[in-house]
């Protein structure tokens, strides 16, 4: 027993770390430290003695510079691959003061080229003077986008101009001036808030970013990634050797759903007016054209515009900067009768046989509500009411429905809320309810107001795009699609990154029979000899539609004021919504002309021409094909 405990004590003693053991370990640590320091000494010797000369030379005129290479922004095409936006090379002239020794001589020589470069000597000097305190290796921009003549002049005298550098930078170019400007949007210089926001990783001051429209909505795809290189430069700042390069990654290309020919057609038709046109493929929600008139030239945002130009843009009473197709809120007028008709039919207030008598006015309470046609429409059923846009018929229906039931159907049809198009600042419009009015004005809903609502006047406000979604849902049998502007995002080599997908957001609150009845009514609008929209009739194409004439000032009883001497800003807005062909529709259109007058005369022809441009183009294409094959056959016969 005693022996064992002694041994265990002994072994415990031997295992215990005593002072000598620690000393031994400390000595080892000292050797490790000394070894590590040897590495440091060796490296120091290697850098300062063996490579000292070379590194001293590199430091003397600090030859290693970083240059960034901008990525080229993705292009934008229409659905058929027609380029709408591309990049052109722009030549920027800069000076690096450190290399331009002596600075005065270089400037003097440069100013001799002022005719080509178009900058005076004093201007040059002031630009340099302003930046004198900045690190002298930083290039100072003398002239942006100086043009090819100036480039040639500078390049020829390159060796006389030390420190002068020409940078080639891709610059945004909107090929068709003013075309689809509101849809495509524009680029402009990034501001400090945007830089700080962190939404634009990798950007720096002076960069251009999308500020509006597609350029903004698809900024992350379009932008690409900046590259750069480490270069060795000589004494006058010219690159001698590229040490390392990181390639810039070009942005991805955007293919839009719009059809350039239709878009262009719509723009020509709207020229000189304020208004909007939107067209859509009713089966997918693809936007075929989106026009807001008047337009603006996007290139001026990139090239820089003068204060005066900017002021005239924002003070123009026709509001060119507003995208009227999605931001403009107008009373839907008679186009709203589609909603009243749906509500009436669905709620069982009317059926296809119900008739009301229209004497040209409707007395309600102590007020007389007039029909647009003074003489009245006589006995009217739903088809005639739609075709001839009889107000009295819809007064009757609306009065029986009440404002809240009307609002329910309008909202269920997508009115009063943004459609969700991928563009900024879309307006919601307004569908009033009794509760809304009470909250808003504190006054209870007056029953008479419901009559105005039933014909799309009063508080009702909609955007052209909302009316288009409604029309196209009518056309396709009741499905509301989200308006799509993106067909696809493709890489430079053509691989699809994202494919636009149709997206149903809801159904019209209408059964099959209801839709059939209304569609027949809409067909009669254009095809009945008495229809209000017969102006949109196209030979060979079956068009359906609805006119609308939105009162800007209240319709008055006094007939002293004739239509002609009414001031322009009291002239009603003209609406026309349409789809074609009536069976298996390919295109739906909404047209609004501000202060255009009657929907039939001002907006109808525009809708007609757009439908024709879209649908006949196919036939035109087929014709071309047939002709070319005929020619081919003939030519083959000859040989």
């Amino acid at each position: 027993m005693k022996k064992i405990s002694l041994r265990s004590n002994l072994s415990k003693y031997l295992k215990t770390a005593d002072s000598d053991w620690y000393k031994q370990r400390v000595v080892r640590v000292m050797f490790c430290v000394a070894g590590a320091f040897l590495i440091l000494f060796a490296r120091l010797f290697y850098l300062q003695v063996i490579h000292g000369q070379e590194l001293r030379r590199l430091s003397e005129n600090n030859c290693i510079r970083l240059q960034t290479t901008d990525s080229s922004r993705g292009m934008i095409f229409d659905r058929n691959g027609i380029p709408l936006v591309d990049n052109r090379p722009a030549f920027d002239l800069s000076i690096i003061l450190k290399d331009a020794k002596p600075v005065e001589r270089t400037i003097e020589k440069l100013s001799k080229l002022s005719k080509q470069i178009n900058v005076s000597e004093s201007e040059l000097m002031s630009k340099i003077g302003r930046s004198k305190d900045i690190s002298s290796y930083k290039p100072i921009l003398l002239k942006q986008d100086m043009g090819r003549d100036a480039l040639a002049a500078v390049e020829v005298r390159k060796f006389d101009l030390p420190g002068i550098v020409v940078d080639v930078k891709p610059r945004r170019h909107y090929i068709y001036r003013q075309s689809a400007a509101h849809l495509i949007g524009y680029l402009s210089e990034i501001n400090s808030d945007e830089l700080k926001s962190g939404k634009y990783p990798g950007s720096k001051g002076g960069d251009f970013i999308g500020k509006f429209g597609v350029e903004k909505a698809f900024e992350p795809f379009l932008r690409g990634k900046r590259g750069g290189r480490q270069v060795e430069v000589n004494v006058i700042g010219q690159v001698v050797r590229v040490l390392k390069t990181v390639d810039a990654q070009p942005g991805q290309n955007i293919y839009l759903t719009i059809d350039h020919t239709v878009q262009k057609k719509a723009e020509v038709l709207l020229e000189g007016t304020a208004g909007a046109v939107v067209a859509m493929d009713p089966k997918t929600g693809n936007i075929l054209a989106l026009v807001s008139s008047p337009s603006f030239d996007q290139n001026t945002f990139v090239d820089g515009m003068s204060h005066k130009q900017w002021n005239s843009l924002i003070s123009n009473p026709l509001r060119p900067m507003e995208n009227k197709a999605i931001q403009g809120e107008y009373p839907p007028a008679s186009t709203f009768k589609i909603i009243t008709a749906i509500a009436g039919l669905e709620e069982g207030i009317i059926d296809k046989n119900t008739t009301f008598y229209c004497p040209g006015y409707y007395k309600y309470g102590n007020r007389v509500y007039r029909c647009w046609r003074r003489g009245g429409h006589g006995s009217v059923n739903i088809f005639k009411a739609l075709a001839q846009s009889c107000d009295v018929f819809f007064y009757q229906v609306g009065q029986r429905l009440g404002v809240d039931r009307l609002a329910f159907y309008a909202k269920a049809s997508g009115l009063g809320t943004p459609t969700g198009i991928n563009l900024d600042n879309e307006a919601a419009g307004l569908i009033p309810t009794a509760a809304w009015k009470k909250r808003r004005t504190g006054i209870a809903w007056q029953k008479g107001e419901t009559l105005s609502i039933a014909i799309g006047q009063g508080y009702n406000l909609t955007t052209p795009l909302q009316m288009l979604v409604l029309t196209s849902a009518m056309a396709n049998g009741g499905t509301r699609y989200k308006p799509l502007i993106l067909e696809s995002v493709k890489t430079v080599s053509g691989d699809i990154v994202i494919q636009g997908k149709k997206q149903a957001v809801g159904k019209l609150p209408a059964g099959k029979t209801t839709l059939e009845i209304i569609k027949k009514g809409l067909w009669e609008v254009v095809n009945n000899p008495k229809g209000t929209g017969r102006i949109a009739h196209i030979k060979g194409i079956d068009v359906s539609g609805k006119t609308g004439t939105a009162q800007v000032v209240g319709r008055t009883n006094d007939s002293t004021q004739s239509e002609t001497d009414r001031p322009k800003h009291h002239t009603p807005h003209a609406w026309f919504v349409a789809y074609a062909p009536s069976v298996d529709p390919q295109i739906a259109v909404a047209v609004l002309v501000e202060h255009g007058g009657h929907g039939s005369s001002a907006a109808g022809p525009i809708a007609r021409e757009i439908i024709r441009a879209y649908l006949e183009k196919d036939e035109y294409g087929r014709q071309l094909k047939a002709e070319s094959s005929k020619v081919g056959a003939e030519s083959s016969k000859q040989f």
């Binding site: 440091l40 120091l44 010797f45 003695v49 590199l58 003397e60 290693i64």
Partner: protein
């Protein structure tokens, strides 16, 4: 209470080295902050002077305290530092995307600098209690592992990878010093070789890329790679005798990133050349050996292990910082003791020096 042997055994040599390094550090910092264009930050130099005064106070306090009482206080110190780290994560000041600073009136401190000392003390306490010549087994290493991992995770979250790695290196060095049992060591090594590729496999593409750039800055020639090449040019262009005080061109033209903190050695090497760099390296080497010698002469394990920990801390900071500036190591933000600008860094190194003094002058208590 006051023992005359305190004066007799006071480590005057260590004090001398501290002053010498402090003086050289201030001179280098002066050059780094005044000749830099476009914005000389002379104010930093005066701030650093104040930090040195604060550090001196910390040093005096820590050598007056009997280091053995730290054995008892270790858990409290450790817990307090961890709480500070958690606190700073929650409400710390954001600087350049990281939460590292705690605002205390007019000054801001980095708790991550203080935790290094807390880890050294805590591990010294644990290892000195359980030490044996066979080394520590895996089971015994569990507590030190936890003590290290907690601050590591908290610091990585800030994020301050440099300091986090430093904590692990210090703890690792101390553990290797007290010896790991052979079989456990084998286990640890095999476990590491298995998990590293496994973790690599689990990482996402961009994370891998970031680590590769971290290991090899040349992959990022416009960012880290550029800094490295400019730093190498600065050091190499100093050649044997240097360009002279305040005459460094790389420094003056702002080609050096973070020239007053992470890349301060480049400023020194550019202006003082091989001669100056070697002098600084020798001073650091001597300081570390001095620290280890204190460990050598100390007669009880707690003091020995703590001194080794402090020496390890100084060693790793010097080795990583200078190695990084010379392109031997990936770029991590680790300060160079005594020389880099930074209040918390100065105070923590001075406290560590005070600890060494305390251990050194109390060795007689065992005679």
């Amino acid at each position: 209470m006051f023992d005359r042997r305190f004066v007799k055994y006071f480590d005057w040599g260590l004090l001398g080295f501290t002053f010498l390094l402090g003086f050289l550090g201030l001179a280098t910092l002066y050059s780094a902050v005044t000749s830099a264009t476009p914005t000389p930050q002379k104010i930093l130099y005066f701030k650093q002077l104040i930090w040195y005064c604060a550090g001196m106070t910390g040093m005096v306090l820590s050598f007056l305290i009997n280091y053995k009482s730290l054995d008892r206080w270790a858990p409290v110190i450790y817990a307090a530092c961890i709480l500070l780290l958690i606190y700073v994560l929650m409400i710390g000041k954001h600087v350049g995307g990281a939460r590292r600073w705690l605002i205390l009136g007019p000054v801001s401190i980095q708790p991550s600098e203080l935790i290094k000392i807390a880890v050294i003390i805590s591990l010294a306490r644990y290892y000195s209690k359980h030490a044996n010549t066979k080394g520590f087994t895996l089971r015994e290493l569990f507590t030190p592992l936890v003590l290290t991992i907690i601050p590591f995770i908290l610091i990585v979250k800030q994020p301050d990878l440099g300091t986090a790695i430093l904590v692990v290196l210090i703890a690792g060095s101390m553990t290797v010093f007290v010896r790991i049992e052979r079989r456990s060591l084998l286990c640890i090594i095999t476990a590491c070789t298995i998990t590293v590729p496994l973790v690599w496999f689990l990482l996402k593409g961009y994370q891998k890329k970031r680590i590769l750039t971290f290991l090899n800055p040349d992959r990022d020639p416009l960012g880290a790679g550029y800094h490295i090449i400019q730093s190498k040019i600065a050091i190499g262009s100093g050649m044997i005798s240097g360009k002279g005080f305040l005459k460094g061109t790389q420094n003056a033209l702002s080609f050096l990133p973070e020239q007053h903190t992470d890349f301060i050695f480049s400023v020194l090497a550019e202006e003082w050349g091989l001669v100056g760099s070697v002098v600084i390296l020798i001073l650091f080497l001597t300081l570390i050996i001095w620290g280890l010698n204190i460990a050598y002469r100390c007669r009880e394990p707690f003091g020995t292990i703590m001194a080794v920990g402090v020496a390890a801390m100084i060693f790793w900071q010097v080795f990583i910082n200078i190695g990084m500036a010379m392109g031997l190591m990936p770029i991590v933000g680790v300060t160079l003791p005594f020389i880099s600008y930074g209040g918390s860094s100065i105070i923590s190194i001075m406290i560590c020096i005070g600890l060494l003094m305390s251990i050194s002058m109390r060795r007689f208590l065992f005679e």
